[in-house]
């Protein structure tokens, strides 16, 4: 009977995930999944032989208060690091479940598959925990976003991995608690070392992969305590996270191995530094921009992370409304990796009530640039960098870009000429048809709107 109830919850997760895939049903999908989770919690509390009600009650209360507080307080721009943090907590929980078993269970009497599951839950959970919080720290600016590299890093990681596997085998064979703890400790260290050398621009891929890991950690915990709903939920998330990760690396035209081990973006900046700031650019004022936009028939906005940082999504929407009133056709081109997570920019624009019909993805936007009068780039750089298309020596060569240089005119709003997150100069800034408006995205949009109203 209990198994049937758990099955109903598993169906809720599947239906929920399915509905999360469509804009119309996404919200109800999330709620169905949440209801499934509530059911799981209640069923577990009712059917398990719970002896420590105080511990459980206190844990649920503290966790609910903290989780709700984080969720309500977080700003939409900080969503990537928030997901990373929640993910880290999930990984830690799975590792702790394994840890409790190591303390409580007679390790000598458990079958081999259970010790394998315990070790897997401990290792994957611990890696997810520290890896997610390093990703959080990089996105939050607590740690530098650039790759932190030291000589022999991959060799050191390889040796550590070998040591961990060796001790894990010893832990299983000899049934020693101390070996389990050592394995957990090494796994914590490995999570840090694995994410530290990865550049901030690649954090979305890392978070997505760690999301997949947290699912696998939960599934491993499910094998350890023989709980099928845990295995189902964990496997669903493990597979979902993996698919998302692959889609993200494809959007950047890179392999997962390249993202994880290449220390991307660390060497590129020095290679191109010499050319930055030496070539002339055309500067524009808010009035210039307002005139260009007002007398265009069609405008495409290309928002990037700079827009998110400046919290300028509402100002952008106001400018778009003003232009639409003047009869200008307005659309938004969203690169798959704009912002810090796939779909992050869509969330920010949705927050500002931009209708999703106006949002173009890479394929939809591409044929339109040639028929567009003005492209306004807001704090985006790498996703419109033509060297990815034209310069085989560029580190980002091959990454699909928004071909904004095919439009009639390009206006770039940017705080300075400094290169983007990947540290690569952008030839488009120096083109004849390009106007550079050096400003914070929010200030630029507000000034332009003001100038537009005065025209």
């Amino acid at each position: 009977m209990v198994e049937i109830l758990y099955l109903a919850a598993a169906v809720a997760f599947i239906v929920g995930l399915k509905q999360l895939g469509s804009p119309r049903t996404a919200r109800s999908g999330n709620r169905i999944a949440a209801l499934g989770m509530l059911a799981v919690i209640i069923i577990t509390l009712v059917t398990e032989d719970v002896v420590n009600w105080v511990t459980i009650g206190a844990g649920l209360a503290v966790g609910t208060a903290l989780g709700a507080w984080f969720a309500v307080r977080v700003q939409m721009t900080s969503m990537p690091q928030m997901v990373a943090a929640f993910n880290g907590f999930g990984g830690l929980a799975s590792a702790l479940v394994a840890a409790v078993a190591v303390v409580e269970v007679d390790l000598g009497s458990i079958p081999p598959e259970t010790s394998v599951a315990l070790l897997a839950s401990l290792i994957i959970g611990a890696v997810t925990f520290t890896g997610s919080f390093v990703a959080f720290a990089k996105l939050q600016g607590i740690l530098p976003g650039r790759p932190l590299l030291f000589p022999g890093q991959n060799v050191a990681n390889g040796l550590l991995l070998a040591a961990m596997v060796g001790i894990a085998i010893r832990a299983g064979v000899r049934a020693e608690a101390l070996s389990y703890w050592t394995v957990g400790g090494i796994a914590l260290l490995m999570g840090i070392l694995a994410v530290i050398p990865i550049g901030g621009a690649d954090m979305p891929v890392v978070i997505s992969l760690l999301n997949s890991f947290s699912g696998l950690a939960a599934a491993a915990a499910g094998f350890a305590i023989e709980s099928n709903p845990l295995i189902i939920g964990g496997a669903l998330v493990g597979a979902a996270g993996l698919i998302l990760t692959v889609q993200m690396t494809e959007a950047m035209n890179r392999s997962l191995a390249n993202v994880l081990f290449a220390g991307f973006g660390s060497g590129a900046a020095t290679a191109t530094d010499s050319t930055i700031g030496e070539r002339p650019v055309k500067r524009a004022t808010a009035e210039d921009v307002a005139i260009a936009l007002r007398y265009a028939q069609s405008v495409i906005f290309v928002p990037g992370y700079g827009l998110a940082v400046a919290q300028a999504q509402h100002a952008l929407r106001e400018l778009a409304d003003a232009l639409e009133e003047e009869g200008v056709d307005v659309q938004y081109a969203i690169h798959p990796v704009a912002g810090r997570m796939p779909g992050h920019m869509n969330v920010l624009l949705a927050e500002a009530d931009v209708p999703y019909e106006q949002l173009l993805d890479l394929e939809q936007a591409d044929p339109r640039f040639a028929h567009t009068d003005v492209v306004l780039i807001l704090g985006a750089n790498d996703v419109v960098n033509t060297s990815a298309r034209d310069d085989p020596s560029s580190p980002i060569y091959g990454m699909p870009i928004l071909n904004v240089d095919r439009a009639g005119q390009v206006i770039v709003v940017k705080r300075s000429l400094s290169p983007g997150f990947a540290g690569i100069d952008n030839p488009i800034f120096y083109e004849d048809k390009t106007l550079m408006f050096f400003s914070d995205a929010k200030a630029a949009l507000e000034e332009t709107l003001k100038a537009l109203k005065e025209l």
């Binding site: 804009p23 844990g59 997901v83 409580e104 597979a239 979902a240």
Partner: protein, 101 residues
Amino acid sequence: MSPLVVGITVFVLASFVGLELISKVPPTLHTPLMSGANAISGITIIGALTSAGLGRSGLAQVLGFLAVVTATINVVGGFLVTDRMLEMFKSRSARRTGSDG
């Protein structure tokens, strides 16, 4: 079938369901989807509740308590934050009919 074989069967089938479910999602929804999937990975709360409920030694109690806290943060925070994101997805028609937004 032994519990292990049942578990492996369930794992493999659920993985394929997950792959099929996700492969057709528009990029717009990737962030909320990642966040929602992350909340579902908080299913490990089953393990946390079981561990905390059964723990006898002091150390197991402390670890179990922390497992419940962290799993609950993952679940509650994950679903709430996903709902907050999705609340903002509105089509043009919804904007017109809605109160002056």
